[in-house]
Point group: C2
Chain length 240, copies 2
């Protein structure tokens, strides 16, 4: 069952085995897993190792534990991906839309005060600004504006931005992208946004301000998303 020689941690192999069984319906919602002692014997590992694998699935919401009862498959599998930084193309396709990105412009601009503060820079420091229009099935959904400090990654200027976001380029360059903090607001469309999204001025816009950080807490990118109010909504999971 497990391969102790291939370098993949045993608890990861156990986690993936169990997840596979839940996904394929071998383990059904509401059903109890074998006990931890039992699983440890089956997998030929110690109970602590089984627990570590199960804990990951509990954190993901696929399982829950009841002391004195057992470990049970959740009825509802939390879509924790909605609380994660994910690839626009992958998620669009996963939701059944064909994604497309049109480059509107890419230039070096001096940082305005608000953006400089968000990125921990001095005012007027050079930024790379990348503006794109994101479409689903050919319909404009989002006006996407990205700001990255020029000194951080000058090569962004020559990268093709039609298949990934700037933070994904940074990740390829070895930056340990760790998390993002975003703020959602309801706004009205200004003239330019309205024209690009093919809606009326003053139509509703779901505005998203997102700052992306690397491991040690340094901000590396600011994003402004102007999302079509009637065609876009933002879904997420909250845990008690």
């Amino acid at each position: 069952m497990l391969d102790k020689t291939d370098g993949v941690a045993l608890y990861i192999q156990i986690r993936d085995t169990l997840r596979e069984q839940i996904m394929t319906g071998v383990l059904k919602p509401g059903e109890k897993l074998p006990s931890e002692d039992d699983l440890a014997a089956r997998f030929g590992v110690s109970r602590m190792t089984v627990r570590r694998g199960i804990s990951d699935l509990v954190d993901m919401g696929m399982l829950y534990r009841r002391r004195g009862v057992g470990t049970i498959v959740s009825q509802f599998h939390l879509e924790r991906d909605h609380n994660r930084l994910t690839d626009f193309f992958e998620t669009a396709r996963a939701e059944g839309f064909e994604p497309e990105v049109r480059l509107l412009g890419k230039e070096v601009v001096p940082a305005k005060l608000a953006i400089a503060e968000a990125l921990g820079l001095q005012e007027s420091e050079p930024l790379i600004r990348i503006q794109t229009l994101r479409l689903a099935n050919g319909v404009p959904i989002t006006l996407y504006e990205e700001y990255v400090p020029y000194k951080l990654c000058p090569m962004l200027l020559t990268e093709d931005m039609r298949n990934r976001a700037a933070w994904q380029v940074l990740e390829e360059q070895g930056f340990a992208i760790k998390f993002a903090v975003q703020r959602l607001e309801a706004r009205l469309a200004d003239a330019r946004t309205a024209a690009l999204l093919n809606i009326e001025e003053d139509a509703p816009i779901l505005f998203k301000n997102r700052i992306i950080y690397i491991e040690d807490g340094t901000p590396v990118e600011l994003i402004h998303c102007h999302n079509h109010g009637n065609l876009y909504s933002s879904k997420m999971t909250l845990v008690r």
Copy 2:
């Protein structure tokens, strides 16, 4: 340092001790913790127990680990609370606003199709609908509409809803509230919402549709929030 007799798990005492030291600045951002072996010796526990406590803080974003280097205090402490179901009053006060809730109405209504489907009910089954207006420092911020299946908790009809949400009452009644899934949209204010929030009709509204679930995946409450577009934004953290 630790109390092995008071019933609180050692790893929780260790976690809270370390968190306290980070919060109070004894451990500063960017600073390395003592090694796990060292901490185990200081706390008088095994290394696995120390790791369990540290892991919780890593999950919360307060620490990060680097193999071969050590465990380091994050520059930026993730506010994971924003990804959690939290108490309106507590969070408002924590952010420096004095919260207030005005009851607009509480009645039993038949479930419309969309709400019945969201809550896993038959159409027309009786629901308790609670409508309140939420204010911060006396300014109306949110028109809050809650729907709970009548059969689930009839006593909601007689509860005072001015200091907690319905799901908090359910929690007090022993329901294991586990998570919520919500969807945010930008909308324009209709006449009633505009009047209650003291804004113009067609002003921007951040609309939130939230479904609350218990442990086994059963939905127990649906919430519609109509948030003041200019005074309310929704902040959250995404993890890579």
